[in-house]
Amino acid sequence: MEGLSVVQANLKVYVDPSQSKNLSSAIFRELSALLFKYNDAFHGVLLAYNVHAPENKGRILPGVHPFIAVRLEAKLLVFSPKPDMLLEGKVVKVTEESIHVIVLGFSSAIITDEAIRNEFKYKTKHGQGLYVNRSNRRHVIKAGTMIRFVVKSMNEETLHIYGSLMPANTGSVKILEKFSEHMNTESVTINSTPKKRRSKEKYEVTTQITEHGSIVKDAPSQNHYDREIKKSRRS
């Protein structure tokens, strides 16, 4: 899942003098107030923080309302989805016009029917709506499925994401992973059809790589994956 990053930040927290007795709890309170909100400074939504032992001292800033400024270093987990990033989330509602997803438990995403590729057909089963992939009947998206989708845009104020299931590498995570697993552990099948020839090709490619031992295995399998998709599309 993209969009998550851990950043190291130098922060300055302004604490009210009445809290001077217990600075660390005041600092934690201030930082906690920033959680799950979009922050321009971090260019994303703050999900978690890890403060390294804040010193219990700070400079007092004079003024009409004096504050204590405490410097500290913190590791921050920031969520900043940008367009064309791949995100994963859990489907909570499926209708004929949209799929509603919740990402990381707090951000709601919607994928409208115009952004769902034609491969997926809407069906109703046992009163529940679901999307079934025409080429792979097992590929089902319904309430409770974890899906991977591409970000179209995000509303920073409301943390609402508009997603898309158009690209080929989107859909139910379980199926996608099974597929890539399948690709990684491809076994050789000897066959006389053109299909076989292709699989032979694949085998050759993988062996070449293992011989050299320097290239990541994922790279060629991605190509295989695409080829498989093309094949399925054709059928």
Partner: protein, 727 residues
């Protein structure tokens, strides 16, 4: 056949359009051409193989015909008796027409056709209508807005139209834009669910939920709309207590709460917005007058807040709901006038005032006839005050909610929130009158857990030197009043907290070896007064249990009172007096000096230690004057008149033979009599009964009964009566 069908269609279409555009050439001709066209659609013409091929383009043409806003001669079609039965295509002709804005002839309803659009086709047409707004074509959109703006009672077909449109709109929410479709959104959010039947309500709520889930910008408005449906329109508000109103309430409220739950499932951050929205839309806010309408609205609103507190999304909004309710109670409390005349009457002791509450009720009937804010606070005068009535009903609601929390086994979490709210607000509210009884009742429901927590918090607040002065003094006053008045608190419990209090006071004495100075040692004097107040109520009980008696006698009480700081001089005279009398009778402590108080309730010294807020005279759990709330409190409350003091010991034991067993627990056995007394007390017409009762009570008291003002220093007098004294 395809070619043929197209030919025929084009002919028919041409005929229709030609005829339609000619002005009033005569119905017959038009009818003929249309009828002939429509005959092609007749399924009875089985010989026509490509009915479907013709049907669709023909209907589309008709559609095009319709959009040009020419009134379709439907009545004439009806007359021609062509039945449209196109199950294969499916058309809800009525819906399409309404959408496209053609005026439907009134007897259209009589047509017996059974054609329905599939849902997806309807949704598609709605989406088209919505999208076309941005390109300037607003006709269908405007019609849609009209449908969503129903006025008055809906006829069945209007209701059906609203239902269908709503369902279709739910599918088209992704195309609703807050810029272009402002009117539509406004219309949707202004709907009041209380006016509709259950299926329309369901459809509308489904629309709201989809709207909120589709676009984050709509979440706030959707929540606003749902919360505004917590209160019904005025007509329904009137009949809420009747079966019809109750039925409507049962229809609407559970659905609204279910919709709120659905929204927070689909949009997790919505729940955090909900608390502030609920607070904003509260019908009654502080500094406003209470009238009948706002009272009823507030009551049902708070009912909803309690539902949220115990409902499916309670972990997100529950705590805030409780805190907001407590704030409302406190605001109402503060809004009720409090006249200090009652307490400034220096000829009466603290305990006297409670006993004489009954007397006020008789005399003030005329004074309060005009219904203004009462000059003296009594139960009867309060009953005419609307603010007090609202507070009373809200407190009853709160008590009932606490009771239901007990049955849901949630009382401890509810209590935690209540306690933190209490510390933040009520504790420091200058002379809060009744709100604190919520805490009292919660402790009564669960003395072991809640009672202990409450008392511990109070004592910790008192001994914590870092807390503000007034909070500390207020906390100890609450503790004293609580330990004295809580009938559900076992004597051992009282003794342990009393012990802590005494220990603290003694430590203070040791640390501050100074002379008497009321202003400097305010906290100390308030602690001492608290000690004495508790002992006035509970000394007898503690002394009767050997273990507690020895605990009591081990406490450094006499050392404190004999110290240089001289609390006996500074604390409230009537309390000091009563304490001294009881302590002497119990042989706990005898003062070497005699105190002559000269009938003072307060002395200058006690005023000094009490400070500006007169915390020397603050007894928070004095009897609750709100009638309905009091009925909950009464069984758990210790009334001074029923407290047995230590100087009652001299009474003969033959009293105890009179069937009053179990006297160890103080006033417990007087329950039945208490009920009698309280019901009859305000109206003074049952003197005979009172006298008999008084007689029984007086036999137990040794205090002299005389009417002269000199005798008024005796605080435990019940009522002047003719009964013999047994001194």
């Amino acid at each position: 056949s395809i070619a043929l069908s197209f030919l025929l269609t084009s002919h028919a279409a041409a005929a229709i359009t030609r005829e339609a555009e000619r002005k009033r050439r005569g119905r017959r001709r038009r009818r003929r051409s249309i009828s002939s066209a429509l005959l092609l659609l007749n399924p009875r013409l089985k010989s026509f193989p490509s009915r479907r091929l013709i049907g669709v383009p023909l209907l589309l043409t008709l559609g095009g015909f319709i959009t040009r806003q020419v009134p379709l001669p439907l009545p004439s079609l009806a007359a021609s008796r062509i039945s449209f039965d196109l199950p294969s295509i499916g058309f809800n002709f009525r819906c399409v027409i309404s959408l496209m804005g053609v005026e439907v002839a009134t007897n259209y309803a009589k047509m017996e056709e059974d054609i329905s659009l599939t849902d997806s086709q309807l949704v598609y047409s709605f989406r088209l209508a919505l999208k076309s707004v941005s390109s300037g074509d607003t006709e269908s959109y405007r019609r849609l807005v009209d449908v969503m703006n129903p006025s008055g009672r809906l006829a069945p077909d209007e209701a059906a139209l609203l239902l269908t449109s709503t369902k279709a709109l739910s599918g088209a929410v992704a195309d609703i834009d807050d810029l272009h479709h402002e009117k539509l959104l406004k219309a949707i959010f202004n709907l009041s669910l209380w006016n509709f039947g259950p299926d329309v309500i369901d459809a509308l709520l489904e629309l709201i939920v989809s709207l909120a889930a589709s676009n984050g910008k709509h979440v706030d408005s959707c929540l606003d709309m749902l919360v505004s449906n917590f209160t019904p329109p005025n007509k329904v508000l009137d009949m809420l207590k009747q079966p019809r109103g109750l039925e409507k309430k049962e229809r609407v409220l559970p659905r609204v709460h279910a919709a709120l739950k659905n929204i927070s499932e689909l949009v997790p951050m919505a729940a955090s917005r909900l608390s502030s929205i609920v607070l904003e839309q509260m019908p009654w806010k502080s500094k406003r007058n209470v009238d009948q309408w706002s009272m009823k609205r507030q009551l049902i609103y708070v009912e909803n807040m309690f539902k949220l507190e115990s409902g499916a999304i309670r972990e997100f909004v529950g705590a805030n709901m409780l805190k907001d309710v407590m704030n409302v109670l406190r605001d109402l409390d503060v809004a009720i006038g409090w006249d200090d005349i009652l307490h400034d009457d220096s000829s009466k002791g603290v305990f006297m005032i409670e006993l004489e509450d009954e007397n006020y009720a008789d005399g003030d009937e005329d004074a309060d006839a005009d219904g203004k804010l009462p000059s003296t606070l009594s139960e009867k005068s309060l009953s005419k005050n609307l603010t007090a009535e609202l507070l009373d009903s809200l407190m009853v609601q709160t008590f009932e909610h606490l009771e239901s929390s007990v049955s849901n086994k949630r009382l401890s979490e509810v209590f935690d929130t209540l306690l933190s709210s209490f510390k933040d607000t009520v504790l420091n509210t200058y002379k809060s009158k009744f709100t604190q009884f919520v805490m009292f009742y919660a402790c009564a429901l669960d003395p072991e857990h809640c009672g202990t927590e409450f008392a511990s918090e109070l004592i910790d607040m008192f001994v914590g030197g870092h807390n503000p002065l007034t909070s500390r003094m207020s906390a100890v006053a609450y503790l004293a009043s609580f330990l004295a008045r809580g009938k559900f608190l076992p004597p051992a419990f009282v003794a342990s907290y009393l012990g802590r209090l005494v220990d603290w006071c003694w430590q203070y004495c040791v640390m501050h070896d100074g002379d008497m100075n009321p202003k400097l040692h305010q906290v100390f004097y308030s602690g001492c007064q608290a000690m004495m107040y508790i002992l006035c109520f509970r000394m007898r009980l503690m002394v009767e249990i050997p273990l507690l008696k020895s605990q009591l006698f081990c406490m450094p009480i006499d050392k404190i009172f004999k110290h240089k700081l001289d609390p006996l001089k500074v604390c409230l005279p009537s309390i000091v007096e009563e304490f001294l009398k009881q302590a002497k009778a119990a042989r706990l402590f005898t003062s070497s000096k005699t105190f002559v108080f000269e009938d003072l309730l307060v002395s200058n010294l006690s005023r000094d230690f009490g400070g500006l807020e007169r915390l020397d005279m603050f007894f928070p759990f004095d009897p609750c004057l709100l009638k309905n709330a009091d009925s909950f409190i009464r069984p758990n409350y210790v009334y001074w008149k029923y407290v047995r003091t230590t100087y009652h010991e001299d009474i003969d034991d033959d009293d105890e033979e009179d069937g009053s067993d179990g006297e160890v627990e103080g006033a417990a056995e007087f329950d039945d009599d208490m009920e009698e007394v309280i019901i009859s007390r305000s109206y003074g017409d049952n003197d005979l009964e009172m006298d008999e009762f008084d007689y029984a009570m007086n036999k137990m008291s040794i205090t002299p009964r005389n009417n002269s003002s000199a005798g008024l220093r005796m605080p435990s007098r019940i009522r002047p009566s003719m009964s013999p004294e047994s001194l």
